[in-house]
């Protein structure tokens, strides 16, 4: 009995200490952790490779997710060197916590697009069409950046859409369209581009009233502040601008 208990404790301790060593185990390469909004998945993936090619001893680790999630992670002490957000508000919460090293810089701009299945079965042509009866529309919830933008363009166009669902993030809206459950949704231009033909984008003039600025900053307390600054330079430099433009972003 005692022996079994001793073994159990030993096993527990061993498990916990095994958890403790984590991913930092391998030495020699320096790790740069970049937290970026989910809409930057494709572009930052390209820039990661480019940065690693220029710095063979550096391993860039991309953590992609909803901007608000990432901002909360940083505020709660998640290790991060660079933060790129999809809107100024979420970056603001990091700045207010005193965790941005220097003023955040805007490096890209995104705007909404109507997304429909490739064959556009409901013949959607404008924002007003989304308010028609019987059209199943999925939007982002007003509490998240893409939803705030969706509310703004509706006001601008004088249109009231009653959505079938208000999703947590833009990728979930896309998911509902890809699954064939929704006739249309509002997503970012870059999301449509990234789908490469699996959804069709329909631009609309009111989108210009709700452009999203993407700010980037080095996180204060980064142990590799120099590398972090170089990564920010890469994003804001020619290579970054190229990649962003190709993905459908506007570059300031």
């Amino acid at each position: 009995m005692r022996l079994a208990a001793a073994f159990a404790t030993l096993a527990l301790v061993a498990t916990l200490s095994a958890c403790g060593t984590g991913p930092g185990g391998e030495s020699g390469r320096r790790t740069l952790t970049v937290l970026a909004a989910a809409s930057l998945t494709e572009t930052f993936g390209q820039l990661e490779k480019r940065f690693e090619a220029a710095h063979p001893d550096v391993d860039v680790r991309l953590a992609l997710g909803g901007s608000s999630d990432l901002a909360q992670q940083i505020v709660h002490g998640a290790p991060a060197d660079v933060f790129a957000a999809a809107n100024p508000d979420t970056m603001g919460s990091v700045v207010r916590a005193g965790l941005a090293d220097g003023a955040p810089r805007t490096f890209a701009r995104n705007e909404l697009s109507i997304a429909v299945p490739p064959d556009n079965p409901r013949k959607i042509g404008s924002l007003a069409d989304l308010a028609r009866d019987g059209v199943v529309v999925v939007l982002c919830a007003p509490q998240v950046p893409c939803g705030a933008a969706s509310t703004k363009v509706q006001r601008e166009a004088g249109v009231r859409i009653s959505p079938a669902s208000e999703e947590q993030d833009v990728k979930s809206v896309l998911g509902k369209i890809l699954a064939g459950e929704a006739d249309a949704g509002l997503v970012y231009v870059t999301d449509v581009n990234a789908q490469q033909g699996k959804v069709r984008g329909i631009p609309f003039p009111e989108a210009a009233s709700a452009r999203n600025d993407y700010p980037i900053a080095v996180v204060r307390g980064s142990e590799r502040a120099d590398l972090a600054r170089q990564f920010v330079e890469l994003v804001r430099g020619e290579a970054g601008r190229d990649a962003l433009t190709r993905a459908g972003f506007e570059v300031p």
């Binding site: 909360q72 079938a164 669902s165 208000e166 459950e181």
Partner: protein
């Protein structure tokens, strides 16, 4: 309801209780270390939540229209799901415990699948069955003009999907514990299968029913992944309390924490209220 449970069964549990009282054995001291650790792992995060809460604003935060709407929807859907679990899962448990079919083990494995699947996978599975483009859903749409995704019915289906195994496991456990001898005796005495079922098997289910219902209801109340994947999220229609918490977290962390505590309180209340002896009945 419990008053109708058969004599022998009750005496069984009673005897066992007495045993533990008369012959109390000391626990090995070393056992306390992992036990305390396990308890702390569960209790401390809830404490952390309570510590983080803005208690002064709490009453206002949990009585906001959006919060009340989400709570009401959660209670309503979880209630319907639990009823569905009992109506469908009860007979299923009897078949699994007492049926003599080839392939019953495989059947049980399928029934237990939602326990091991990530709920979001369950949601996707439901979507590709009952969604507008789904295997069955496309016919529901064209033939009957029934559309399930984005409706409250979808929430109930998602909750029932994830909660049913909890009820089935509890009831099946109760039947296996009791063994088949009561039914055999009743049958030898000339009772017909239907009479045996109602007069013997159903009372044998009662010890597992309490814990099964509590677990299923609690699981339905907490359902998140399957709901958001299958039903979407719209205030008053599909946005249950967990979905509201997840959304509030984006804009108002205090509100999210307050609603989380509300959910913890409801769950605790359910466990305390419906936890009669039957909750410990499954051993």
């Amino acid at each position: 309801m419990t008053a109708t449970s058969p004599g022998p069964l009750r005496r069984d549990t009673g005897d066992r209780r007495e045993d533990t009282h008369t012959a109390r054995t000391a626990l090995p001291t070393l056992l306390w270390i992992p036990a305390v650790g396990g308890f702390a792992l569960i209790a401390l995060p809830v404490f952390g939540l309570a510590w983080k809460a803005d208690w002064i604003r709490l009453p206002e935060l949990v009585t906001r229209p959006a919060a009340l709407q989400a709570l009401e929807l959660s209670l309503r859907t979880a209630f319907v799901s639990t009823v569905l679990c009992v109506v469908l899962g009860g007979p299923l448990a009897v078949v699994l415990a007492r049926g003599h079919l080839p392939g019953l083990r495989a059947l049980r494995a399928v029934v237990l699948l939602p326990l091991v699947l990530p709920p979001v996978v369950g949601g996707l599975a439901l979507l590709y069955l009952l969604g507008r483009a789904g295997l069955v859903g496309q016919y529901l749409e064209t033939w009957f003009k029934i559309r399930i995704p984005f409706s409250t019915a979808a929430v109930v289906l998602a909750q029932t999907f994830v909660a049913m195994p909890f009820l089935v496991v509890s009831l099946e456990g109760a039947l296996r514990m009791a063994g088949e001898r009561y039914e055999e005796v009743a049958a030898t005495l000339g009772a017909r299968p239907w009479t045996v079922f109602w007069r013997v098997t159903v009372p044998l289910l009662f010890p597992g029913l309490g814990s099964g219902v509590v677990l299923a209801f609690a699981r339905a109340m907490g359902e998140f992944g399957a709901t958001i994947a299958f039903a979407g999220s719209l205030a008053g229609t599909t946005r249950t309390l967990p979905l509201e918490i997840y959304l509030q977290r984006e804009s108002d962390v205090d509100a999210a924490v307050a609603l989380s505590l509300l959910l913890v309180a409801v769950a605790a209340l359910v466990v305390v209220l419906v936890r009669p002896r039957s909750a410990e009945g499954v051993r």
